[in-house]
């Protein structure tokens, strides 16, 4: 009913496209915009790291080790005398790239498996879910450790390890959603119109699973950054001297009480990233849900 009142303005914007509509709804959510700005800045920072970073991230200078923040080194230097700011900027590249890659891989594989499993049911469901049970039985970090150990350290290997550890979670989430959606009449209506299984999955089921998927994705970007650091810590993740936020944070462990910049700045970077992605994800979920349109 309220739609009629606003229909004049609504219609104009609808005609353009659905995505423009989403964008307008997203823009009204201030917190989400803050999150998006953070995410975009981080991405830019990662892409243009060589341009922005004031120093080379691997040049060591024992003479300048553990310096407090100053005009020369905005965030001080680490135990090897490297510029912390430069290492954070380069480290963002690794952290973001690896965790994004991992999220995308686990989302695609887990999402498809979950949708198929939930929609088909029966034996297909049983087989997929038992496989997921096996994945779930091994703690995610242990799984990642095993895979990294087998494939060796490195950016791609780390991403793959983390992705595999995330598949089961996404799969279960999407399967649960699909199970509730499967019995909706509009799915049946789509079948009555002649849609095949694949079409129903792609055009009806997955779009309607988007909300929890997006929230899960943004949450796991934060979680993945933590897992990368954990892997780096046991020596299986990204290998030094490539900087990585978790690794930098870990290297500051010994200096917790004596030299605060080494743990504080990477900590802030990780926290800020997680915050940014989380609020952006929440906002995106609301913007993508036409029911929440105000």
């Amino acid at each position: 009913m309220n739609a009629q009142k606003n229909s004049g303005s609504m219609e104009k914007l609808r005609k353009s496209s659905q995505w423009k509509d989403v964008w307008i709804r997203l823009r009204r959510n201030k917190l989400a915009m803050v999150g998006m700005v953070i995410a975009v800045l981080l991405a830019l920072m990662a892409i243009f790291a060589p341009v922005i970073a004031p120093y080379d991230y691997q040049v060591q200078s024992i003479a300048e080790r553990l310096q407090m923040p100053s005009a020369q080194h905005l965030m001080g230097t680490d135990n090897m005398g490297r510029d912390i700011l430069s290492r954070l900027i380069y480290g963002g590249r690794i952290s973001l790239l690896v965790s994004l890659l991992a999220v995308i891989v686990s989302l695609v594989i887990g999402g498809l498996l979950g949708a198929v499993s939930g929609y088909m049911g029966g034996k297909v469901d049983a087989v997929i879910m038992r496989l997921m049970d096996i994945l779930m039985a091994i703690p995610g970090i242990l799984m990642a450790v095993c895979i990294s150990a087998a494939l060796g350290g490195g950016v791609w290997q780390t991403a793959l390890a983390i992705a595999v550890a995330g598949i089961a979670g996404v799969c279960r989430l999407v399967r649960g959603q699909t199970l509730t959606l499967r019995n909706q009449e509009y799915i049946e209506a789509a079948r009555a119109s002649g849609s095949g299984t694949l079409r129903i999955l792609l055009s009806n089921i997955i779009p309607n699973c988007l909300a929890p998927i997006i929230v899960n994705t943004t949450m796991s970007i934060g979680g993945n950054i933590m897992m990368i650091s954990a892997l780096s810590f046991v020596g299986l993740g990204v290998q030094p001297p490539i900087p990585e936020w978790g690794a930098i944070l870990n290297s500051g462990r010994e200096y917790v009480s004596t030299f605060w910049p080494l743990i504080t700045f990477p900590g802030i970077a990780i926290a800020l990233t997680m915050f940014g992605f989380n609020v952006f994800g929440d906002g995106l979920r609301d913007a993508l849900d036409p029911k929440l349109k105000q």
């Binding site: 009913m1 309220n2 739609a3 009629q4 009142k5 229909s7 609504m10 219609e11 609808r14 005609k15 659905q18 909706q184 009449e185 509009y186 049946e188 209506a189 789509a190 079948r191 009555a192 119109s193 002649g194 849609s195 095949g196 079409r199 055009s203 009806n204 779009p207 309607n208 988007l210 849900d289 036409p290 029911k291 349109k293 105000q294």
Partner: protein, 663 residues
Amino acid sequence: MKVLEIKDLVIEYQTMDGTVHAVNNINLDLEEGETLGLVGETGAGKTTTALGVLRLIPDPPGVIKSGQILLKGKDIMSMSGEELRAMRGDEISMIFQDPMTALNPVLTVGEQIAEIYFLHNECSRAESMEKAREMLEMVGIPGERADEYPHQFSGGMKQRVVIAIALACQPALIIADEPTTALDVTIQAQVLDMMKNLKDQLETAMLLITHDLGVVAEVCDKVAIMYAGEIVEYGTLEHIFNHTMHPYTMGLFNSLPSLDKDADRLRPIHGLMPDPTDLPSGCPFHPRCPYARPECAESHPELRDYGNGHLARCLFCDGQLGAENTAEEEKPAMAAATEKEQTLDVLLEAVHLKKYFQTRGGLLHAVDDISFTIERGKTLGVVGESGCGKSTLGRALIGLNEATDGQVLFEGQDVTHLKGRERRKFLTNMQMIFQDPFSSLDPRKTVFEQIAAPLRINKVCRNKRELEQRVADLMETVGLARRLTYSYPHELDGGRRQRIGVARALALEPKFIVCDEPVSALDVSIQAQVLNLLQDLQAAKNLTYIFITHDLSVVRHISDDIMVMYVGCMVEKCASHELFDYPLHPYTKGMLSAVPIPSINMEKKRIIMQGELTSPVNPKPGCRFANRCPYATDECRSVQPAVEEVRPNHFVACHHVREINGL
């Protein structure tokens, strides 16, 4: 003594879109032992009024702006939280619409009733349990069943339990919000009967909220008709049913398909309930009123007494209504044009169709050996209570559920087990309109996308322009405004949503449409609009319908033939008027007599059918109706009766049909 007095009650909801005037200045009172029916369509403010009496309005966004609510002379508005808690359940109790969700699944029903005694009467657990058993006996459930859990009871039994809980503390007032809407007719008849008896026994006052004028005629003493948050007419049953004054009330009666007279078209109220954030000036009903005059848009009528407590809120209802503005009735040109062709052209035939489902309990016989034919351009109504397999039958016909056994012949071609591309091609001939206009539309797709989907899937249109044109044409056919093209389903009301469903079904120009309860989720005035639309489309496009419903008056209105189903089996099939005039099967007779009729002038001979439906899981041999049938013999309990043509074109499955009906 007055149990409840509501004076000048105003309730508003503050929402993002503005203030919703849910209840505007309502005055009501209720004497001891009296039942007041609060009638109106969705959004009229009935439930808000009831929640207001319990002070259960969610706040925010709801606010009781002004007014007084007196319960036995005590002002509810000034009560503290503690007093309110004591009052609820003890002085006022509420019966909710859906018994499935009103009971706690992890407590036994006995515990749930006993809890009320324990909380309010301060007796021990054991005593409470004892009283709970008594209460169950009172609503017709054996006391031993107190130790069972809700899932062990059927829908009607659960509603009895809910009523037992409501009655437990012998409250002065019961508020019943659509108490029988979720129940089947025969079960509804049992529950209504029980409610009437209990009311007489206990002298409890009852506020009955309903949209069903038939139920009102059965149980109420007084009626208040609500529209847009106001009472538009108020009076005794006699006043409302026999001396209707307000045009809205008249419109409600006209929208109802009747069980006892044939009408070609229903006369629905035009348009929709106004947006409660933006009520029209003057009389809120004037934009829809067939008698509206310019004055109606200017001054807001007062509720006036027209003698003996018959109140109405209309400027001209004292005999000055004048002629109806018939100009508003758009006579669809297409409807008149085509006479139904009288050729005996069989479009669809089902031959010994069976659909079984494997469940944990055993084999569920959802559709058990049903055979029938439908002629082109006709409507076959399928009626039966929930769980009788009527929806499964519809889905099996168009191949949404593949039949276990038997055949479906469409224009002579066997289409029972089509797969892949063949099925898709064939599906363009057969479509389905679904029951729930809320769950049958994808919430993330615009109206355009919903209607375009079948066209896209089947690659009917060559380019985007053609697609847009087709969708626009379809929207016009079903009466959807162009400006709604890019709206999302949740922005539309039930009637419009159902029109989208109809447009989607029509998109591929099918010959045959299965309508699965297409109007049961809609308000009466909207229901009438959609029924008229379906009839017009049938006439214009020579469509063939299977119309599945539990509503006997709707099925009589729309069908040429009717098939009655009971627990997976067909028990009777004949021409529509014949079924209502000469029902032969004992179940049909009982079901017809159970329908509450919105009239108070008819002598009702009610055959109350005892008991509940038999389970369709691994059914025993014999007639499935035998356990409820007053004529059942040993033969009925052991041999399943075959379908026989008892009179010309009148098929019945009953061993004793001839004796019972003296044929």
